[in-house]
C-alpha cells in the first residue's frame, strides 16, 4: 500500500479538486473538503518523512512505462532535496483553510489542484511527466489570480501568463532536445532524469538548451531580471495564492535548477555559475532595496520574498555542498517564515481593510499573540540565530565565500538589507500609536492561534536543532558533488582544467 504513497499525495488533492469543480457543493462544504484532504495529505507526508531513509538516492520509487515508443514513463520518487520541498507544501497548505473568511468554491478547488500538481512536479522522475505537472500547476494560479484577485488583477494575470508561457515553451524545447540527444548518443529513447546525467553535451546547442532551462526556472524562482511579474502577482493575488506562490511554487524553480541544470549541463553550469551567482546577488540587493520604499505591506513582502529567493538561488550556483545544503534548508525556512508572513498579511488586510503600512500602528498592544507570531516569522526571515532562517543563510554565505570572495561579501549584505525594511515596517504596523483602522484590531482566535503554533514552533526548532533535518538532506546533496563514475573513469588524471576538452575529443 505504502509504495504508492506519492501517487496518492499527488492525485488525492487533484481528484478532490476536480470533483469539487464539477459538483454543486456549497462554499462551506468546499472549504471543509479542502481542509480534510490537505490534512490527509499532511498525515501521509509525515508518514513518508518518518519512513524516509536518507540514502541519498530516490526513495518510494514508482515506475510505470507510459509511452513506450518514446521511452516516456510515469515515474516518481523523492530524495533529500525534493522531500523538503514536498514537506513544506504538505505542512503549510492546511493552514490556508483555517484562516480567512469562507471564499468561493472554485477557490478551494483550485487550491487543491495546485497542491497536487506541485507535489507531482516535485516527485516526477521523468522529464515529460515533470513538464505536464509543471503546466498543470500554473493553471489554478491563473484562475485564482484572475478570478479572485484584487482590483488590479488583470494586468498582473497578463504579465504572469506572458512570463510563464515564454518560460514553459523554452523548457519544452529543451526537454525535447535532451530526449533527442539521448536517442542519438545511446540509441534508445528515454526521458528519465537520472539518465540525462550521462549525456555528453557540448557546443552551442548545449549552451542554448542550458539557457532555455535556466530561463524557464529563472522566471519561476524568480531570478533577476525575470522577477517583474512577481510584485504585481503577489500583491494582487488572494492571500492564499500568494502564500502558495511564495512558499512552494517559487521553490520548484530552484528545485528544477538543482535537478535538471546542475547534473545534466555540468560543463555549462560550471562556466556560467559565476554569472548566475551575480544575478542572484544583484536580485537580492535590488529587490531588498526596492522593498524599503513600499507603502503596501503585501508588496513589501513580495519584494522581500524575491530578495530571499535571490539568496536561495545563489546557494545553488556556488557549487559547494555547504551552499547547496544551505539553499535547501533555506527553502523550508523561507516557506515557513515568508509564507506565513503572507498569511499574516492576509489576516491584517482582512481585519483592517487596508494594505497601506502607514494606515496602521499599535497592533502589538492590541493583539500580543499575533504580534509575537509575526515577530518570530519576521526574525526568521531576517536570519536571526535560533530561528530556521539563520542556518541556511549562514551556510549560503559561507559557501559563497569559498566560491568567490566578492560574491560572498555581497551576499552577506542580505543581513543588513533584510533587517532595514522589516524593522521599519514592523515599527509602523505593530509599534507606535494605534490608528483608527487598527484601533479595534481583533486578536487571533483560539483556533487560529493553535493552528499557527506548530509552524511557529517549527521555525524555532529548525533553528535550534537542525541536525535531524540536515541529516536527511546531506546524503543527497553530497551525491550532487560526487563526480559521476563514468566521467571519473574517462578523465585523464589530474587534468581538471581540460575537463571540457577531454569529453569533446572522445
Amino acid at each position: 500500500m505504502f509504495e504508492h504513497v506519492l501517487s496518492v499525495i499527488i492525485f488525492l488533492p487533484i481528484l478532490a479538486g476536480l470533483i469539487l469543480l464539477a459538483s454543486p457543493a456549497s462554499r462551506t462544504i468546499a472549504r471543509f473538503t479542502g481542509l480534510v484532504i490537505s490534512l490527509a495529505t499532511l498525515v501521509l507526508s509525515l508518514e513518508l518523512y518518518l519512513r524516509f531513509e536518507a540514502t541519498g538516492h530516490l526513495e518510494f520509487v514508482e515506475h510505470i512505462s507510459w509511452i513506450k515508443s518514446l521511452g516516456v514513463s510515469y515515474s516518481l520518487g523523492v530524495d533529500g532535496i525534493s522531500l523538503f520541498i514536498l514537506m513544506a507544501g504538505s505542512v503549510l497548505l492546511p493552514l490556508v483553510y483555517f484562516v480567512f473568511g469562507t471564499k468561493e468554491k472554485g477557490y478551494y478547488a483550485n487550491l487543491l489542484i495546485v497542491q497536487g500538481a506541485m507535489a507531482g512536479a516535485i516527485c516526477a522522475a521523468d522529464m515529460i511527466l515533470f513538464y505536464i505537472f509543471w503546466e498543470v500547476m500554473l493553471l489554478p494560479v491563473f484562475f485564482m489570480l484572475g478570478l479572485y484577485g484584487g482590483p488590479r488583477r488583470l494586468p498582473a494575470t497578463l504579465k504572469i501568463t506572458l512570463y510563464t508561457i515564454a518560460g514553459s515553451l523554452l523548457m519544452l524545447a529543451a526537454i525535447v532536445y535532451l530526449g533527442v540527444s539521448y536517442h542519438a548518443q545511446f540509441n534508445e529513447w528515454s526521458f528519465a532524469m537520472e539518465k540525462m546525467a550521462h549525456l555528453n553535451l557540448t557546443g552551442r546547442v548545449a549552451a542554448v538548451a542550458f539557457f532555455a532551462f535556466m530561463i524557464a526556472f529563472a522566471v519561476k524562482i524568480p531570478l533577476f531580471p525575470f522577477h517583474t511579474w512577481l510584485p504585481d502577482a503577489y500583491t494582487e493575488a488572494p492571500a492564499a495564492t500568494t502564500f502558495v506562490l511564495s512558499a512552494v511554487m517559487a521553490k520548484i524553480g530552484v528545485y528544477g535548477v538543482i535537478r535538471f541544470v546542475v547534473p545534466v549541463f555540468d560543463l555549462e553550469f560550471a562556466r556560467f555559475a559565476i554569472l548566475l551567482a551575480y544575478l542572484g546577488v544583484i536580485g537580492m540587493m535590488y529587490c531588498g532595496l526596492a522593498a524599503i520604499t513600499q507603502k503596501d505591506f503585501k508588496r513589501m513582502l513580495a519584494f522581500s520574498s524575491a530578495s530571499h529567493m535571490g539568496v536561495i538561488a545563489l546557494g545553488v550556483f556556488c557549487m559547494n555542498i555547504q551552499a547547496l545544503t544551505g539553499s535547501i534548508y533555506q527553502i523550508v525556512a523561507h516557506a515557513t517564515s515568508t509564507g506565513v508572513l503572507f498569511l499574516f498579511a492576509g489576516i491584517l488586510e482582512e481585519r483592517t481593510n487596508t494594505r497601506t503600512i502607514d494606515d496602521l500602528g499599535g497592533i502589538a498592544a492590541k493583539a500580543p499573540v499575533f504580534a509575537l507570531y509575526f515577530a518570530i516569522a519576521m526574525l526568521a526571515s531576517v536570519g536571526l540565530p535560533g530561528t530556521s532562517g539563520f542556518i541556511g543563510e549562514f551556510m549560503i554565505v559561507l559557501g559563497a565565500i569559498k566560491f568567490n570572495t566578492a560574491i560572498g561579501v555581497l551576499a552577506g549584505t542580505t543581513l543588513i538589507i533584510g533587517v532595514c525594511y522589516m524593522l521599519w515596517m514592523f515599527q509602523r504596523v505593530f509599534f507606535e500609536k494605534t490608528s483608527s483602522r487598527s484601533e479595534h484590531f481583533k486578536e487571533l482566535s483560539f483556533t487560529e492561534g493553535l493552528v499557527f503554533l506548530p509552524v511557529i514552533l517549527l521555525i524555532i526548532v529548525m533553528g535550534i536543532y537542525p541536525h535531524p533535518f540536515l541529516s536527511k538532506i546531506t546524503p543527497s546533496t553530497a551525491l550532487q558533488f560526487a563526480p559521476p563514475a563514468s566521467v571519473v573513469a574517462q578523465m585523464p588524471a589530474a587534468n581538471a582544467q581540460n575537463y571540457g576538452l577531454t569529453i569533446e575529443q572522445k
Partner: protein
C-alpha cells in the same frame, strides 16, 4: 585536556526557560486580569540567581584544577554538520569565560532585583522581565559558547533583546527609531562577524571550529587571511561595543528603561566585543597590525566620546558617552595585546557603570522621569544613599586611587606605555582627565548647589530598599574590585591576570618601575586636574551654560548623526525609491511590456486585411493560388 561538565548547559538554559515562561504568562494574562507584580518579580529572579549559583560552581570546579588544565566543556548536541563544516552546540568554561560568567550573572541578578522596584506600575511588567531573562540567557550563550558560531547565536540574541528593550516604550516613535538604529547598526557589525567567521573557517575551520581547535591550528593560517579575519571580527566588535564608526546607536539606546541601560548598554552586552577580541587573543596576538588598528580605533573612540560627554545635558547620555569612552580604553588594552588588562577593565567597569546607571535611575525615578541635569540640583540632602553610592561609582569611573577603575585603567595605560605605544598612552591620560571632569560635572550639577526645579525637589526621596540594596552592593564592588588585580608595585600579585593566563595568549610587558610610576603619576595628575576644573565650574551650583563655537559643535556631537543620515540613510532610501519608481518600470519591466505592446501593434496591423467583404477574401484566395502555382511551376521546371 578539557573535562566534561554537563551543568554548563543549564546556565543559559535557566534564564531562557524563565523568559519563555514569563513571556507566556504575560501574553495569556495581559489582556485579562494582570498577574500581581510580585509573581513576575520572583519568577524573573529565579533564572539569573540559579545561573549565578551555577557560575560559582563552575568557578569552584575550575579552581580545583591545575591552572593549565582549567577547561570545562559540555557538548549539548550536534548543531549542524555539512561536509567539512561541523558545529556543535557546545559550551566551554575556562578562566576567561568563568570571569565573565561570574560578573554577568551577579550583576544581572542585582539588576533584576532593582528592576522589581523600578518598573513597578508598568503595564508591561511581565514583558519587561521576559525580555530581561531572554537577554541574560543570550548573553550567557555568548560567553559560554565553545566556538565563534555559538558565540554568534548569543551575539545576535543580545542584539535582539537590546532592540526589544530600547523600543520597550513602543508607543513613542523616537524610542522605536532608536531600537531600529541599534539593530541595524549592529547588523552592519554582524556582517563583519559572519564574514570573518567564514574566512576563518575556510582557513583552518575544517579541523574543528571551536576555540580550542582553532587555537591549536592557528599557525596554519596564512598571515593575509589572519589579518582579514582579525579586522572583520573587529568590525563586529565595533558594532556591538559601540566604537568608531558604529558607536552612534549607543547614546540613542538610552531610550530604554534605565535598568536596561545599566545591564545591557553598560555592564554586559556592550563589552562583548572586548570579550571577543580577548577570546581570539591567539589570533590577534600573531597579527600586530590588527592589534594596532584595534588599539587606535579604541583610544580615538575614547577621546571622541569623552569630548561629547563633557557637553551632554541628559544624565543618561553623559553616562552613555562615558561607556563608549571606557569601551575605547578596553579596546586600547586588548589592542596593545594586554588582554587581561582589557578584560579586567570590563570587569571593574561593569560594577561602577552599572552602579552609576542604577543611581541615575533612582534619581530619574525620584524626579518622575526627569533626565535633564539642568533641572536637578541639590539632591544630596534628599537622596543621601543614592548620593554616596554614586560618588563611589564616579570616583571609580574617574580613576581615583584606590577605587577599582583606577587599577584597571592604569593597567591599560601602563601596558600601552610599556609596549611603546606612546601616542595611545598620551591620549589615554588626556581622556582620563576629561573623564574625571565630565563625571564630576554630572555629580556636582545633580547633587550639589541649589535645587533648580523646586517642585520636583520637594518630592524627591531615596528609592525603596529593593533598589538601594543593589546600589550598595555594587558600590562595594566598585570600591574593592580593583584590589583583585593589585599590581606588584602596590604589593599585590595580579590575581586576575594570573587567573586569566591559561585562556589568553599574551606576554606581560616589563617596562620597569620607572614606567610604572610614570603611568600612575600621570593618571593621578590627570584625575586631579579634571576634578579640580569640574569643582571650580560646577561645585557651588551653576547655571545652564550656553554653548558656542567648538562647544556647540561638540554639543551637537560633531553632527555625525546628521552626516550619516545624509551620506547613508537618505541615499539608501533614494536608491530604493529610484529602483521602484524609475528602474523597474522603465528598464527591467520594459521588455515585458514591450512584448504585449508588440502583439497589440501586430494585431492592429493585420486588422487592416480583415475588411469583412467576401469579394476581398476571394481576391486573397486568387492571389494565393496564383503565387502557389507560380512557385510550383518554377520548382517543377
Amino acid at each position: 585536556m578539557e573535562q566534561c561538565a554537563n551543568y554548563l548547559g543549564l546556565i543559559p538554559l535557566f534564564p531562557l526557560l524563565g523568559a519563555v515562561f514569563i513571556g507566556l504568562l504575560h501574553v495569556f494574562t495581559c489582556k485579562r486580569t494582570a498577574l500581581p507584580e510580585k509573581v513576575y518579580g520572583i519568577l524573573a529572579c529565579v533564572g539569573p540567581v540559579l545561573a549565578f549559583v551555577l557560575a560559582l560552581k563552575v568557578f569552584v570546579a575550575l579552581k580545583g584544577l591545575a591552572p593549565e588544565a582549567r577547561f570545562l566543556s559540555y557538548k549539548a548536541f550536534t548543531w549542524f554538520s555539512v561536509g567539512e563544516l561541523h558545529i556543535d552546540m557546545g559550551f566551554l568554561a575556562d578562566p576567561l569565560s568563568c570571569l565573565m560568567l561570574l560578573f554577568v550573572t551577579f550583576i544581572g541578578s542585582l539588576i533584576h532585583i532593582y528592576s522589581i522596584g523600578y518598573m513597578g506600575g508598568d503595564k508591561n511588567y511581565g514583558k519587561f522581565f521576559a525580555y530581561m531573562n531572554l537577554f541574560l540567557g543570550s548573553m550567557l550563550v555568548l560567553v559560554l559558547g565553545n566556538g565563534p558560531v555559538v558565540m554568534f547565536v548569543g551575539w545576535e540574541g543580545v542584539g535582539l533583546c537590546s532592540y526589544l528593550l530600547i523600543s520597550f516604550y513602543s508607543e513613542d516613535r523616537s524610542n522605536v527609531l532608536a531600537g531600529n538604529k541599534a539593530f541595524i547598526v549592529n547588523r552592519v557589525g554582524d556582517l563583519g562577524f559572519v564574514l570573518g567567521m567564514s574566512f576563518l573557517f575556510w582557513g583552518i575551520g575544517a579541523h574543528g571550529f571551536d576555540y580550542l581547535s582553532l587555537k591549536a591550528n592557528v599557525h596554519h593560517l596564512e598571515p593575509a587571511v589572519a589579518l582579514t579575519v582579525c579586522l572583520l571580527l573587529f568590525v563586529g566588535a565595533t558594532g556591538k561595543s559601540a566604537q568608531i564608526p558604529l558607536y552612534v546607536w549607543l547614546p540613542d539606546a538610552m531610550a530604554g528603561p534605565t535598568p536596561v541601560s545599566a545591564l545591557i548598554h553598560a555592564a554586559t552586552m556592550v563589552t562583548a566585543g572586548v570579550y571577543m577580541v580577548a577570546r581570539f587573543s591567539f589570533l590577534y596576538a600573531g597579527v600586530e597590525l590588527a592589534g594596532n588598528i584595534v588599539a587606535w580605533i579604541g583610544i580615538l573612540t575614547a577621546l571622541l566620546a569623552a569630548i561629547f560627554g563633557m557637553f551632554q545635558e541628559d544624565i543618561k547620555k553623559v553616562l552613555a558617552y562615558s561607556t563608549v569612552s571606557q569601551l575605547g580604553y578596553m579596546f586600547a588594552g586588548v589592542g596593545v595585546a594586554a588582554y587581561s588588562a582589557g578584560i579586567f577593565h570590563v570587569f571593574t567597569h561593569a560594577f561602577f557603570k552599572a552602579l552609576l546607571f542604577l543611581g541615575a535611575g533612582s534619581v530619574i525615578y525620584a524626579l518622575h522621569h526627569e533626565q535633564n541635569i539642568w533641572k536637578m540640583g541639590g539632591l544630596k540632602k534628599k537622596m543621601p544613599k543614592t548620593y554616596i553610592t554614586m560618588v563611589i561609582g564616579a570616583l571609580a569611573l574617574a580613576g581615583c586611587p584606590p577605587f577599582s577603575g583606577f587599577f584597571s585603567k592604569d593597567e591599560i595605560l601602563y601596558s600601552a606605555l610599556a609596549t611603546g605605544h606612546f601616542g595611545i598612552w598620551a591620549i589615554g591620560v588626556l581622556v582620563a582627565g576629561m573623564t574625571a571632569y565630565y563625571t564630576f560635572r554630572m555629580i556636582f550639577v545633580v547633587f550639589h548647589g541649589e535645587p533648580r526645579d523646586h517642585h520636583a525637589y520637594e518630592h524627591a526621596t531615596d528609592a525603596p530598599s529593593v533598589m538601594t540594596v543593589p546600589l550598595i552592593i555594587l558600590a562595594i564592588g566598585a570600591l574593592c574590585a580593583g584590589l583583585l588585580n593589585l599590581p606588584g608595585i602596590f604589593g599585590g600579585d595580579q590575581v586576575v591576570s594570573h587567573w586569566l593566563a591559561p585562556s589568553l595568549t599574551e606576554h606581560h610587558p616589563h617596562g620597569g618601575v620607572f614606567l610604572e610610576i610614570l603611568a600612575i603619576a600621570a593618571s593621578v595628575v590627570a584625575f586631579v586636574i579634571g576634578i579640580k576644573i569640574a569643582y571650580t565650574k560646577f561645585g557651588h551650583g551653576a547655571q545652564e551654560p550656553f554653548f558656542s563655537g567648538f562647544a556647540d559643535f561638540a554639543y551637537h556631537k560633531f553632527y555625525v548623526d546628521e552626516l550619516y543620515d545624509r551620506i547613508i540613510v537618505q541615499p539608501y532610501k533614494a536608491i530604493g525609491s529610484s529602483i521602484w519608481k524609475v528602474i523597474e518600470p522603465n528598464v527591467t519591466d520594459a521588455p515585458v511590456k514591450g512584448v504585449s505592446r508588440l502583439y497589440m501593434v501586430l494585431g492592429t496591423a493585420f486588422k487592416v486585411f480583415q475588411v469583412g467583404y467576401v469579394r476581398v477574401y476571394a481576391l486573397y484566395m486568387v492571389l494565393g493560388l496564383g503565387i502557389m502555382s507560380l512557385l510550383l511551376s518554377q520548382s517543377l521546371n
